[in-house]
């Protein structure tokens, strides 16, 4: 028995929305980074599911690139967060108030 494509899409939509809501309501910048990762991984679920459904390898190739970019993004993001933590002793975005948000 195969699992219908809609199940995958619903799962990925739930994961994606969790990520979006996380970015919007969390105040800890590490938690925000994790939420962004959730959004990117929801995309990967979509790509793999569609790739299997359409019998097309293009989607799986895309996943490899998306994973690599996500890793690069986290590396840059964490570097910025460390620099910010050194300057401000905080990773709570409410305290980043030198510029009007």
């Amino acid at each position: 028995m195969t699992i219908p494509i809609s199940y995958y899409l619903i799962l990925s939509a739930i994961v994606f929305l969790t990520g979006v809501v996380g970015v919007l309501i969390r105040r800890n910048i590490i938690a925000i980074l994790l939420s962004i990762e959730l959004m990117l991984n929801a995309t990967n679920i979509n790509f793999v599911a569609f790739s299997e459904y359409l019998q097309d390898m293009g989607g799986q190739v895309f996943v490899f690139f998306a994973l690599t970019v996500a890793a690069a993004e986290v590396a840059v993001g964490l570097a910025i967060i460390i620099a910010l933590h050194r300057a401000k002793d905080s990773i709570n975005i409410e305290e980043f108030n030198l510029l009007k948000w």
Binding site: L9, S12, F16, G19, V20, V23, I29, I32, L33, I36, M39, L40, A42, T43, N46, F47, A49, F50, Y53, L54, D56, G58, G59, V61, F62, F65, A66, V69, A72, E73, V76, G77, A79, I80, I81, A83, L84, A87, K88, I93, F96, L98, L99, K100, W101
Partner: protein
């Protein structure tokens, strides 16, 4: 997908830029700080060679790597503009970084890496390449925004840019994945073929279009996805701000037009309605909020938001126009607008970068008080840029607005052109305020340190290029109009 070595020759400009970037990153630690100027000259030399190569590719369209990259006059137009702006950025940074005591050789590496991402974006014909180009551009820009590590404002700008940039990339990527599911391909021509004759009744296609519009909305900084712009533009080092405001906006428009006109062209009745709303919101909010700013970088940030709104009028006109000519005119107007906007905005940011107050940026509007009395030439140049940004003839800004409004009128959107004209008149208020402050107000004799201007031959070249572009294309726009018109013909 087949690979032929000839494809590498087609992407030679990108390869050269990436090679130079790697070379800069490798050479940076081994050079002594007095030799780091060499890195700037290396970058400039590479950019000059690239511009020559790109100009030679202008006349023959070709696609490489099985159609994921396309080199046509449209891509070459944007690439020439981007390389030119990157060259100006290197020249501006050369003096500005020394003044800020930022002796990072890798700065030039990031400029080049970011540029290579932009070049990939504008010549991509596959959503995968567009995504990779966007990320390469953005990741380098996040780092560049936070380069002033001793300054918490700069780090804060970098963090905000990173969070909202990564968030928007996530949305863009989700849109791409849905579009892949709806059409079975990420290749733009295949997507166009798959959705021909379909409407937005398909929920997958509807969600994909909306998510792509939101994702690109963040990159283009249109209202309501603009909230990162003022903070990032204010906090980032001014040379980086100039680069972001001009180059990343131009590259995003290049990729955006490719995706929506070429890939989703048959849905244009639907997406032009979305962009019409965004366009009106952008014009209204960008211009009104700019009125109350006291920091000139923030004011120019809102002004750049408003200018994205004017450029969007061309996109909407291209979407609404029933005829092929109308569509071509709309796209030509957008390309022309972004090219002319590059000269005036870069010039304005250069003057802002030059004004220093006690070792810091003199970036409050008050710092311009009485500039005309102390530095008449700089004040005159700022006057030209402000007049041009306001769209007053005979400057480049007027020509840009003229073509955009003409495209709107031809597409039957006369009311939109009138609305934009009203907001252009409102915008004149905040641009002319700078001129008023410079020319008509005496500096307060009680304030201790009056701002000073930094000068260097490199900065003179930047200002000369910017003002020459503004005045020359304002009086004689023919060559640029022809170039943009010629470039659009290869589009689609």
């Amino acid at each position: 997908m087949t690979f032929s070595p000839g494809d590498l020759f087609l992407i030679l400009p990108e390869l050269l830029v990436i090679t130079a970037a790697c070379l800069v990153l490798v050479l940076d630690p081994v050079l002594s700080s007095s030799q780091k100027d060499g890195l700037a000259w290396l970058s400039l030399g590479t950019l000059a060679i690239c511009m020559g190569l790109i100009a030679s590719q202008m006349n023959h369209a070709a696609s490489a790597f099985g159609g994921i990259v396309i080199i046509d006059a449209y891509a070459c137009f944007w690439k020439l503009l981007l390389c030119f702006v990157a060259g100006l950025t290197v020249l501006l940074s050369h003096t500005y970084l020394r003044e800020e005591r930022l002796y990072f050789g890798e700065y030039y590496g990031f400029v080049l890496l970011s540029l290579s991402g932009m070049m990939v974006m504008v010549s991509a014909a596959d959503l995968l390449t567009i995504y990779l180009g966007t990320e390469l551009m953005s990741l380098s820009l996040y780092v560049m925004a936070g380069l002033k590590r001793s300054e918490p404002r700069s780090l804060e700008a970098s963090a905000k840019y990173f969070v909202l940039g990564a968030f928007s990339s996530g949305i863009l990527l989700y849109g791409i994945s849905l579009l892949y599911g709806a059409t079975g391909s990420t290749r733009l021509p295949a997507i166009a073929a798959a959705i021909a004759g379909r409407s937005l009744d398909d929920p997958l296609l509807l969600a994909a279009t909306v998510l792509l519009a939101v994702g690109f909305g963040f990159k283009l900084a249109v209202v309501p996805f603009h909230m990162w712009t003022p903070d990032v533009y204010q906090g980032a080092p001014t040379s980086v701000t100039a680069f972001m405001a001009v180059a990343s906006k131009a590259a995003s428009f290049g990729a955006f037009l490719r995706v929506f006109v070429e890939g989703l062209g048959s849905l244009k009745a639907n997406w032009s309605a979305i962009f019409l709303l965004l366009c009106i919101a952008t014009l209204v909010l960008g211009n009104i909020v700019a009125l109350v700013q006291t920091n000139i970088k923030r004011m120019l940030a809102y002004s750049s938001i408003a200018h994205a709104g004017y450029a969007l009028i061309g996109v909407v006109a291209a979407g609404v126009a029933g005829t092929q000519t109308g569509e071509t005119n709309g796209i030509t107007a957008v390309m022309l607008y972004l090219a002319l906007y590059a000269f005036m905005t870069f010039g304005a940011f250069t003057i802002v970068a030059m004004l220093r107050k006690g070792g810091l940026d003199g970036d409050e509007i008050e710092d311009f008080t009485g500039l005309a009395a102390r530095h008449p030439l700089a004040a005159l140049l700022m006057l030209v840029f402000m007049v041009s940004l306001a769209g007053i003839p005979p400057t480049a800004g007027f020509i840009g607005k003229f073509y955009v409004f003409m495209a709107a009128v031809e597409a039957g959107l006369t009311w939109l052109a009138v609305l934009a004209l009203v907001f252009a008149a409102i915008s004149a208020y905040y641009y002319l305020r700078i001129i008023m402050v410079m020319y008509m107000r005496e500096p307060d004799p009680l304030t201790a340190a009056s701002p000073r201007l930094i000068m260097s031959p490199a900065l003179s070249i930047v200002l000369a290029c910017a003002v020459a572009g503004v005045v020359f294309f304002g009086l004689y726009p023919g060559p640029l109009v022809n170039l943009a018109g010629h470039a659009v013909l290869t589009f689609k």
